[in-house]
Symmetry: D2
Subunit: 131 residues, 4 copies
C-alpha cells in the first residue's frame, strides 16, 4: 500500500435509511471494503492470506466519528493509512470524504490471527502495506 | 410447525431506505428469520440439522410480490406454510402482514442439501414441519 | 441503456454468511445497484428523476432463481435487459454471472410512481433505457 | 429506562459472514435496535419524537471493542445505560453479552437534533430515560 490508499464508492438505496442519510452501521462496511481493496492492491486476497499464510485479519476495535451525513447517490472516497503497528496488530486511520469534506473518520485496530483465533505475527507479505 | 407458523418482528432504522420505506431486499431477511424460527419451534436449530443430520436448507428460488410499503417502526408478522414438497425440496408460502393488510407475499422453494451441496432426502425430523 | 447493460462488482465480507456463500437476500442489493448504474449511464440519477420528473421507480415483484453459490472475493457481473414494458411499468431480466457461469437469474417488475405512490407514465427520458 | 435497559435478540444467517461469525458492522445494528427498544419502553417512538417534539436522535460517535466472536444462532443480550449527558447530547454504554460473557462493548455518543440537523435541547420526555 502507498502511504495513503484510496478507495472510491457510491451510495445506493441499500445504504440509506428513512432519515434520508447513510445508516451509521453501513460506514463500517465501506471501511472494510477499503481495507480489502488495499490488500488486493498488494496482489493479495483475504482468501490467499488464509490459505497460504494461515492468517486472518480481524477487527479488535473501531472508533468512528460521524461528522457530516452522506446521502443517496453521493460519491465518496476513503483514505486509509497505517497509524501504528505491533508484531501482531496494527491500527489504521480511515477518513471518508465527499469531495474535500470529511464525512466520517475512524481508527480501526486490526489483529492478525490464526484459524483458532490466536494472534500471530503479521505475515511478511503484509509488510509493504504497513510501512 | 402448525399449519401456519407465525413470526412477529419490528422495523428498525437498519431496515428502511431513503424512500422512507423498508428496502426491498430486506424482506428476504425477514422471510429467512421466520423460517429459522419455524425450525426452532420444532426444538431444532440449523446448526443441529447440519451437525446431526449433515443437512442444510438452501433457497432455490424466491418469487416475491410487493403490495404495500412497510415503514419505520411498523410491527409486522409473517404467516408461513408449506405449499408442496418432494423428496428433497419443499415450497413455502410466506405472507408478510401489517395488522390485517398484506404487505408482501412470497413463494420460496427450499432444497435440503449435504455439505457438498448435493440434494438429499429431507430428514425425518423435519416431517412434522412439512405435513 | 444499450440492449444489455453490464455492471461489475466484488463480493466482500459483508455479502457472505456463515454458510461460506453470498447471503440470498444480498443478490437483490446487487440487482438494484445494477439498475441504478443503468440509470446513471443515461446521464440520469434517481434523485434527478424524482426532483425533475416527480417519478420514482419501485419494485413490484422479483422472481429470483439461485443456480450456483457465489463466494467471498468473487468478481461477478450482472447483465440487465428490458423484457417487456407497459405505459407505467417494465420488466427486466437480470443475470448474475461469474466468468461464463450463471450464478443467479431474476425477473424484476418495476413501476414508475409519483410521490404519493400512484403509477405514472414512464418519463420520456427513460425511453432510451427501455427500447 | 431503568438504570440498565436489557434487549435480547438472536443471530440469524443475515448477521454472519463467511468467517463463521457475526460481521463486525452488524453489531451497530443491534446497538441501535436496543436504543430504539429503550425508547419504546418509555411509551415513545422515534416517529413520535420527530412528529411531536421535532427531535431526532443521531449518532455522533461510536467506540466499539470486539472481545469474543458471536456465532450463528447465538442468543445475545445488550445491557444499555447512560454514562454522561449534556443539554443536547448523551453517551451510552452498551454491552453485548452471551450468557455471562461479554462479546462486545461500545460507548455511543448521541445528539438530539432538529429537522435541519442542528443540536437542540433533549426533550423532557426523554429525561426518565437519562436519569
Amino acid at each position: 500500500m502507498t502511504k495513503n490508499f484510496i478507495y472510491k464508492f457510491k451510495i445506493y438505496y441499500e445504504d440509506t435509511d428513512s432519515g434520508g442519510v447513510v445508516y451509521y452501521a453501513n460506514y463500517l462496511k465501506y471501511l472494510e471494503r477499503a481495507r480489502s481493496e488495499a490488500i488486493y492492491s498488494l496482489g493479495l486476497t483475504n482468501t490467499k492470506l488464509q490459505k497460504d499464510y494461515g492468517t486472518l485479519i480481524i477487527v479488535k476495535s473501531c472508533n468512528i466519528e460521524y461528522k457530516k451525513p452522506a446521502r443517496f447517490e453521493d460519491e465518496l472516497e476513503i483514505i486509509s493509512s497505517v497509524l501504528t503497528k505491533t508484531k501482531t496488530s496494527f491500527t489504521m486511520k480511515q477518513i471518508i470524504k465527499k469531495d474535500e469534506e470529511t464525512i466520517s473518520e475512524a481508527d480501526v485496530q486490526l489483529v492478525t490471527v490464526n484459524k483458532e483465533g490466536k494472534p500471530v505475527k503479521i505475515p511478511k507479505i503484509l509488510e509493504k502495506f504497513l510501512n
